[in-house]
Symmetry: C2
């Protein structure tokens, strides 16, 4: 009997049905303890069955169709009838079953958020900030938000497609992916409502909402140059991420690493993490000991870099200026407080939610929002040593 399961596993459509068949047989007959009646009925009506749309209809002396229309604010319903129905609804404390609504209507009113698995993505203030915006706005517009962690296995079992095919969601947000990620192409090709949050795809026509990374990077470069910095190092994240590419472009176009030096020599990958930022700073300073400023493409890497520089015995900002990007909440509370570019991540979340919902409603025109960024000058930057009077 047991092997009838095991030797079946090759044929089983795996995740399509129950994500982890062995783990979750979900045998209906085996649940111990205090099992209630047939269905998890959530007590109601003093022992009777839970009140449904039919009871409302009956009590209000209308048809269920009318009740449904009242629920959905259909303007066809008269003031009087509406009033009558609503009274009954309130009296019986009726609440429409969402699953039933979703099943028979066109929309589930559920949105998915796809996050990459960077260690613990949700724990990252960057994602958290965006997520907050999304959730708040979605809630305001009557939608719920579901989270998904996009691991290799997630793609392999085609969960991204299932999300739609099994009608889990009406649309999804993709945060932190690049053109390399094939699953995004699949989603777009299948014409599912998708929005790219804070990333751009050159090779893909997809709605997106981004911060003005280019503008932010330009502000940083201008600022550093005005402070007299001649040799600047850049710590960036994976170049497949479009925002990183934009920053790198700006950096390279300003030939900011000093005359004669190879540009790519002044850049290092910091892997988006503190640890990586520290390592990148080390590499940069080894190659160019005369670097007076480091520009990190996100705050975490900037913090890592700052940590390294300080441990090296160099002072920030007197010896080396450091600038970050994103303005995540705690950067104001490190010593020295980090100069950075403020990116309106929360607002990006809000805007994305609005856009995605429009798209779900059928708006066909492609959308491309760019939200402004600005420099936040704090303590980690100062005039370049060579430019100082006492130098």
């Amino acid at each position: 009997m047991l092997n009838c399961f095991t030797n079946m596993s090759t044929l089983s459509p795996q995740s399509l049905l129950q994500p982890d068949p062995v783990d979750e047989p979900f045998d209906p007959s085996s649940s111990s303890g205090s099992t209630p009646g047939r269905r998890a009925s959530g007590r109601r009506d003093g022992g009777g069955k839970r009140v449904g749309i039919r009871e409302i209809a009956q009590r209000a002396e209308v048809s269920t169709a009318t009740v449904s229309m009242v629920l959905n604010q259909n303007p066809k319903i008269t003031d009087a009838t509406r009033r009558r129905v609503l009274r009954v609804i309130n009296e019986l404390d009726y609440r429409p079953n969402r699953q039933a609504q979703a099943l028979s209507s066109k929309y589930t009113r559920m949105l998915g958020v796809l996050l990459p698995t960077l260690r613990h993505a949700v724990a990252d203030p960057y994602f958290g900030e965006v997520l907050s915006g999304i959730i708040d706005r979605a809630a305001k517009r009557g939608h719920k938000v579901m989270l998904e962690n996009v691991k290799p296995d997630f793609i392999k079992t085609r969960q991204h497609i299932e999300l739609f095919e099994r009608r889990y969601v009406d649309g999804v947000f993709c945060i932190g992916f690049g053109g390399r990620h094939a699953f995004m192409h699949e989603l777009v090709e299948a014409e599912y409502p998708v929005i790219a949050v804070n990333s751009i795809f050159d090779d893909l026509t997809i709605d997106h909402v981004v911060c003005d990374y280019r503008g932010g990077a330009e502000q940083v470069m201008t600022c550093l140059k005005q402070l007299g910095h001649g040799r600047i190092g850049l710590i960036h994240g994976a170049p497949v991420v479009s925002t990183q590419r934009m920053i790198m472009d700006v950096f390279a176009s300003q030939t900011a690493c000093g005359q004669g030096a190879d540009i790519s020599d002044c850049m290092a990958d910091g892997l988006f993490t503190e640890r990586g930022g520290a390592d990148a700073a080390e590499a940069l300073l080894k190659r160019h000991p005369d670097l007076t400023a480091i520009f990190a493409a996100n705050d975490k890497m900037a913090l890592g870099a700052m940590h390294y520089v300080q441990h090296l015995g160099r002072r920030v900002p007197q010896d080396v200026s450091i600038v970050g990007f994103d303005d995540i909440p705690h950067t104001a509370f490190v010593t020295p407080a980090l100069t950075t570019i403020h990116t309106p991540l929360y607002e990006v979340g809000v805007a994305s939610a609005d856009r995605l919902i429009e798209r779900i409603r059928g708006k066909a025109d492609p959308i491309s929002d760019v939200l402004p960024t600005h420099l936040v000058l704090r303590e980690s930057t100062s005039i370049a040593p060579a430019a100082r009077p006492d130098a």
Copy 2:
């Protein structure tokens, strides 16, 4: 016609139906652009309608009940039939509609996460870490996770009840709430599956999974005392939060603030934030300039305190030692790196998910898990000045 809506608003069961009626009339006839057929059918079968359980049944020459049983791994089905059905399922690339499954079965397989609205809660590494654990485990066990922001309005409109009554979820996680929060009592009384994540309720019988805050606090105190610190200040968060109370208890019981001093005088509320931590540190040092160590009940407050102390011109750790709590990722990358208590937040999330699912399945026995914590010694602590040879 318009006022028929507005003057109706008093009667309308508000959020029960559409969270924001005015914002979201969702008029089916008004959507512009390329609207597809009747339902969002997600292309299928070369133009035909999407394949359902009946087609599978027909093609496999069995009843829909059999197909359903195969889907649900019901052991009644023979190896042979199962194989046959699965083959058809794979051939037609069939995927059961989740809404339909949820509607007719006892479970939605959706879990809710209730978060407090601390500015942007999700952006907090603390919550993020727990959340990661929850999501990963829930996914592994075939459940999806939904996020909710608990604002005052959320409670007022009784969304917490709706979550269950409208069958959005099978159960919820509550992270970061205290006994003060009446909605938790309501949920427990209604006997809905609820689990308190990293918090304890004395006056409420509710499942919970927590880190060993008491043990962690004891380790901190022991460590500081061994380093010779006689006067220690405590920065804590809101005392309604049980974990904070536990830390405060330990602190108070060790009369660590020096002889003769009023204990409550050595404690200050840091509001869980960096800003608050800085302010609390200021208050403490004003009251007790001879403080040689500050123990903050979370890392964010510790960072704030450290920031303030350093700005004051005092050195950390030479003049003042600082200890945090939680070990959120970036504390290792500030200067000096923060000594803190590691709390297995990710694991707390994982364990909570397991527990909640068990509870949903009907396990009736109350659960109380305590996960161990441990001290992470880094650079922000050292021997007390008075205890040093050179003092």
